[in-house]
């Protein structure tokens, strides 16, 4: 095969693969992209019932209810709004009241959010990025909360004489 020909089919082959990959990615992105809603955004302009979204906020103290059949119901807040979440799976071990979490799922017609996954991470300095942003906007977040590194946090505990 001549050199110019060879070049042509290599280029053509590569182009086909790249176009196919781009098409796949765009198609997948448009159907699998999930937007994040803070409770304030939900209060203002709720997503359609059934649309897959992520919501997040701080778990409201005392709002966690554990039905005897399994799963859990709880409320998250960003100070500007609240979302009631129902989750039938097992909560992550790091889930607790007052902690920032992100849940993925959809709203039903009545405004109850049914989550099929809940993400939580316990770290004194950690807050899911989306939740931190939403909290900053609502004024519930104070910058100095983030600045303390772990051992300083330990020191704070020491000062209170408590380890929670």
């Amino acid at each position: 095969m001549r050199k110019a020909n060879r070049r042509l089919w290599i280029t053509a082959g590569a182009a086909v693969v790249l176009v196919a990959a781009a098409a796949l990615a765009m198609n997948a992105m448009s159907s699998a992209m999930v937007f994040f809603y803070s409770p304030a955004m939900v209060a203002e302009n709720p997503p359609e019932a059934g649309q897959r979204v992520r919501v997040g906020g701080l778990v409201v103290d005392g709002s966690v209810e554990r039905p005897s059949t399994g799963g859990a119901n709880f409320t998250v807040t960003d100070g500007a709004g609240e979302i009631r979440i129902s989750y039938s799976g097992s909560l992550p071990d790091l889930f607790r009241e007052g902690q920032g979490i992100v849940a993925e799922g959809a709203f039903d017609g009545a405004g109850l959010f049914t989550a099929d996954s809940v993400l939580a991470k316990h770290d004194e300095n950690y807050m899911p990025a989306e939740v931190a942003d939403a909290l900053k906007e609502s004024g519930m977040w104070h910058e100095d909360q983030t600045s303390s590194s772990q051992y300083q946090t330990y020191g704070d505990d020491a000062a209170e004489g408590a380890g929670s």
């Binding site: 020491a158 209170e160 004489g161 408590a162 380890g163 929670s164």
Partner: protein, 312 residues
């Protein structure tokens, strides 16, 4: 400090010389010297940017030796906690350390760990005080609810020593939560009977018991509906008076119902009939003559009312 600098200097020099040797051997003595010098000095400079050569380390062995040799009262709470942990590490069956640490942790919101330690202490030998602490930690862990496990702990504590106030108080609370007011009143008045009059627990339990026992019961009748639910404001008055009537009838039949008397007095206070309320308390007082525990409850409720006439 000097030792850090000296050791670092030696290492830096050795490293510099090692790198420079091939160059120096090749005849470029000066270039070799420069390379060695730059590496050594550069490393030192980079170290000193953030280095703290005069800050000594604090391995745990050294720390714990210091804590052991210090008078406990001189230690901060967190140091005391570590000292207790050290004692338990050395002797996992040290009941005293287990209890002290358990109590300390329970008081600093670390009930889960506290419960483990107290249970360990109890495995060494039963003790009413420890059972009581365990029960309390369990109650705190469950946000005030006296769970079955907590009740078991309190009951055992009560069996071992009925004179400790907490088991009686919480057992009474548990009975009250289940709607058994007579049992609750028995636990509370019994412990008030046993406690010396100047014990701060005595007044605290009496106040709380008087408050709880004087509350209207769950439903006005067999229908089980909550009192005053779905009622117009005008109806409430009527319902209260109906309840008072029923109570009076019941107390005629069974004048030994302390909770009934207390509720009656409180209801009359709500209907702004202080004289009749006082009358109910006086009747109860004469009825329970010679039973200091019950009388203490009556007095506690009376002082809670702070009768307006006496103020005037």
């Amino acid at each position: 400090m000097m030792s850090v600098i000296a050791i670092s200097a030696l290492i830096a020099l050795a490293a510099g010389v090692y790198v420079a040797t091939p160059v120096a051997r090749d005849g470029a003595r000066v270039a070799g010297l420069v390379i060695a010098g730059l590496i050594a000095l550069g490393a030192f400079g980079a170290y000193l940017v953030n280095g703290e050569p005069d800050l000594s380390g604090q391995p745990y062995d050294v720390l714990i030796e210091r804590l052991r040799s210090t008078e406990p009262t001189q230690l901060t709470p967190i140091e005391q906690e570590e000292r207790l942990r050290d004692a338990i590490r050395n002797n996992p069956e040290d009941i005293r350390a287990l209890t002290l640490l358990g109590r300390f942790l329970a008081r600093t919101d670390r009930e889960l760990e506290a419960i483990g330690l107290l249970q360990r202490a109890l495995r060494q030998g039963e003790d009413a005080r420890i059972y009581s602490d365990l029960g309390e930690a369990l109650v705190n862990l469950n946000e005030g609810q006296v769970t079955a496990e907590a009740r078991r702990a309190f009951r055992r504590a009560y069996e071992l020593d009925p004179n400790i106030p907490e088991p009686s108080f919480f057992l009474g609370s548990a009975a009250y939560a289940e709607g058994d007011r007579a049992m609750a009143a028995t636990y509370w008045t019994d412990i008030i009977n046993r406690l010396p009059t100047d014990d701060p627990y005595r007044a605290a339990i009496a106040d709380r018991a008087a408050d709880l026992l004087s509350r209207p019961t769950g439903g006005p009748g067999a229908d089980g509906e909550a009192p005053f639910a779905n009622a117009e404001p005008g109806d409430i008055e009527a319902m209260i008076s109906a309840m008072v009537d029923r109570l009076e009838m019941r107390l005629d039949d069974d004048p030994g119902d302390l909770s009934g008397w207390l509720t009656l007095a409180r209801a009359r206070m709500m209907m702004e009939k202080p004289a009749e309320a006082r009358e109910a308390l006086e009747t109860a007082r004469s009825r329970f003559e010679g039973q200091p525990g019950k009388l203490a409850l009556i007095s506690a409720l009376e002082s809670a009312f702070a009768f307006e006439e006496t103020d005037a």
